[in-house]
């Protein structure tokens, strides 16, 4: 404990007064507080966040909000227009559109979120290893990324989904396996630039272990871009799921998703006579993806360290 105190107490007094001690610092705010403030200054991002809270909330609370059984058909109610009983109308089998939308939201959001988590974990791990260690490891991993990127995505999706049963689980696995490349490149780039920063060199000079430098010093500084790309990815996965469902290769009926609801509505008579049937599922996809993009953009600005440091 005598480590640093030798003769110090006596000396501290005699040396010229510390000019820094009395200097006032700005109000003490944590990094998080700054990021939150920054985020809430962005009106579009706040709008997106509110929308997402409503959409996710509605999907989670579907059993309580839904007015009908989402899969219950009623011949009398076929293409019923919006009314007090059928809030947003009914589809071609007389199922309540509002209730179906809520349950469809559960599935769409689940697939989007789970696919995002799996692709981010794969991408961030590959990118971090490639970026930090460099050399041959980097070369091999990045060539794998190049190969995966070169796969024709839609074709691969259709083939893989056709091979495995088009269950939500396999959908998530396929999405995860095909779309981690962007995150990997992003994280690798962040690693390459961050590992040259002087605070990482300083951590090495201090003798800190490698894993500690990667996970405790570098990763927290790369988390911003990862979160942003993950947020944007959810939107992309919801679109992808809708596309596959629209083609009949996604989640199978009767389980509703926004995509297969749209697919049910694809005929001219329905378009002309029952505008509510294609409109509302389309609107849900549109609003959800838009909100994720707004939130992603807001996070990008809020997490940008250049903005934070000012």
């Amino acid at each position: 404990m005598s480590h640093l105190n030798t003769g110090q107490d006596a000396k501290t007094e005699s040396i010229t007064p510390n000019p820094m001690n009395n200097e006032t610092l700005g109000k003490h705010r944590s990094m998080l507080a700054i990021i939150v403030t920054k985020f809430f200054q962005n009106k579009l991002a706040v709008f997106g966040l509110i929308m997402l809270v409503i959409i996710v909330g509605a999907a989670v609370l579907a059993p309580f909000i839904a007015t009908h059984n989402p899969n219950e058909t009623s011949l009398g109610a076929r293409l019923h227009e919006p009314s007090a009983e059928y809030l947003l109308g009914a589809d071609n089998l007389g199922r309540d559109l509002f209730s179906r939308l809520l349950y469809a939201g559960q599935m769409s959001l689940l697939v989007g979120f789970a696919a995002m988590v799996s692709s981010t974990i794969i991408g961030a791990t590959v990118g971090a290893i490639a970026g930090y260690f460099g050399g041959i490891i980097d070369g091999i991993l990045m060539r794998i990324v190049d190969i995966v990127i070169s796969f024709p995505n839609v074709f691969m999706l259709i083939t893989l989904v056709a091979l495995f049963s088009p269950s939500p689980f396999w959908l998530i696995v396929v999405f995860g396996l095909l779309s981690w490349t962007g995150t990997a490149r992003l994280v690798r780039g962040e690693m390459l630039s961050l590992k040259q920063r002087e605070f990482v060199l300083a951590a090495r000079t201090l003798g800190l272990p490698k894993w500690r430098i990667i996970f405790s010093h570098i990763m927290p500084n790369a988390i911003g871009p990862i979160i942003v790309s993950a947020t944007l990815a959810i939107g992309a996965f919801i679109i992808a799921e809708s596309t596959l469902s629209f083609l009949g290769l996604g989640i199978q009926p009767p389980q509703a998703t926004w995509g297969n609801m749209l697919s049910d509505a694809q005929s001219i008579p329905i378009f002309l006579n029952a505008w509510w049937f294609p409109l509302f599922p389309g609107l849900m996809i549109f609003l959800t993806v838009l909100s994720f993009n707004f939130v992603g953009d807001g996070l990008r600005d809020a997490l940008d360290p250049r903005v934070v440091e000012k």
């Binding site: 820094m20 990094m31 002087e198 605070f199 300083a202 010093h217």
Partner: protein, 347 residues
């Protein structure tokens, strides 16, 4: 160890004793230039190309040179952030040139670095406290968090930071304060040698002098030796005991401060010194030496003496033979054909 160096200090006048804490012999650091899909090496950037010098315990060695001359690379190679290509680094009687990363752990305690940029040298996601406490924990100094926190706070106090700011983030501090945090971080393990990689060049002039005074006070208090890398000759002049001048990865001249400033022997040192702005009109030299041309690329340095393309006294031998470092006068080393072997004299 501390006792012996105390004793030495009291017996001998400042920096006169000969114990070398760091000795660099023929140190080289080449960076491979790679290209193509197979990453084949196409050549080397010779950032440091065989430098020799030593630093005595307790002194401040200034390493100067223009941007890109390899002085920072030299500093980072000496602290083993880079692996040396060739040569030897003897630190505190131990050859650390070839040591592997995991064997360098104990060295890390004794050999610390202060970085140039007070912004990028601090982790923006870590508080001052965790920046200072983490190394203590890794090196098993202090038995619990409370003790380590006390050590961190006493160091903060010592470098002129309010210890109550221990939970603040770097962005809440000014540039000068941040550099003090960087100094505290280098000091917290109680090293023997601190390499300062242009530690004040990013600061305002008024803050520069505060930080230099702080470094000076700390040197006496903790028996520190400094390797002070800078491009500002006037800063180095006030701060260093001995000075080395680098040019294009090579050491041109090493001498104590007085000799170097009053009798520079190498033409490059002479040119460099003539470029220092003078504050007093009487001191303004009329014969300012202007070097022609640009600094050559370290990827393809000139043959012979690397300075021959710009040297006003260039001779035939300079273009073919690389001059070796020789001690022309006591404690005055120079690598120049004008002075080696006494064959030529300055006109």
């Amino acid at each position: 160890m501390a006792n012996t160096s105390e004793a030495l200090k009291s017996e001998m006048p400042e920096s006169k004793h000969d114990e070398k804490i760091l000795e660099i012999k023929n140190l080289k650091k080449y960076f491979p230039v790679k290209s193509g899909i197979l990453q084949r090496t196409k050549g080397h950037v010779k950032a440091v190309d065989g430098i020799n010098f030593f630093i005595r315990r307790g002194e401040t060695f200034g390493l100067v040179g223009e941007s890109g001359c390899g002085k920072s690379t030299a500093g980072r190679t000496i602290t083993r952030l880079y692996d040396p290509t060739e040569g030897t680094i003897v630190f505190d009687g131990e050859d650390i040139t070839k040591k592997k990363e995991r064997h360098l752990f104990n060295l890390r305690r004794d050999l610390q670095m202060v970085y140039q940029d007070p912004y990028s040298s601090l982790n923006p996601r870590k508080t001052v406290g965790s920046t200072l406490i983490e190394p203590l924990k890794v090196h098993h100094i202090g038995s619990n968090l409370k003790e380590r926190k006390e050590i961190a706070q006493s160091i903060m106090q010592r470098v002129g930071l309010n210890p109550s700011f221990i939970n603040r983030y770097p962005h809440e501090f000014s540039g000068g304060q941040r550099q003090r945090i960087g100094i505290a971080r280098a000091l917290v393990l109680q090293p023997k040698l601190i390499v300062g990689d242009e530690p004040v060049s990013a600061l305002d002039v008024s803050v520069q002098s505060q930080v230099l005074n702080l470094l000076d006070d700390l040197q006496d208090e903790f028996n520190l030796t400094y390797l002070f890398i800078a491009h500002d000759l006037s800063v180095v002049k006030h701060f260093s005991d001995r000075i080395g001048v680098m040019y294009l990865g090579n050491m041109a001249e090493v001498a104590n401060k007085k000799d170097l400033y009053h009798e520079p022997l190498h033409p490059y040192t002479q040119a460099l010194l003539s470029a220092v702005p003078k504050s007093h009109p009487r001191e303004v030299k009329k014969d300012r030496i202007i070097l022609k041309g640009d600094i050559p690329s370290p990827a393809n340095p000139p043959s012979g003496c690397v300075f021959h393309t710009r040297c006003p006294y260039v001779m035939d031998v300079c273009k073919q033979v690389k001059p070796v470092m020789e001690e022309i006068r006591p404690d005055h080393f120079v690598a120049c054909h004008l002075h080696n072997e006494g064959t030529t004299t300055l006109s």
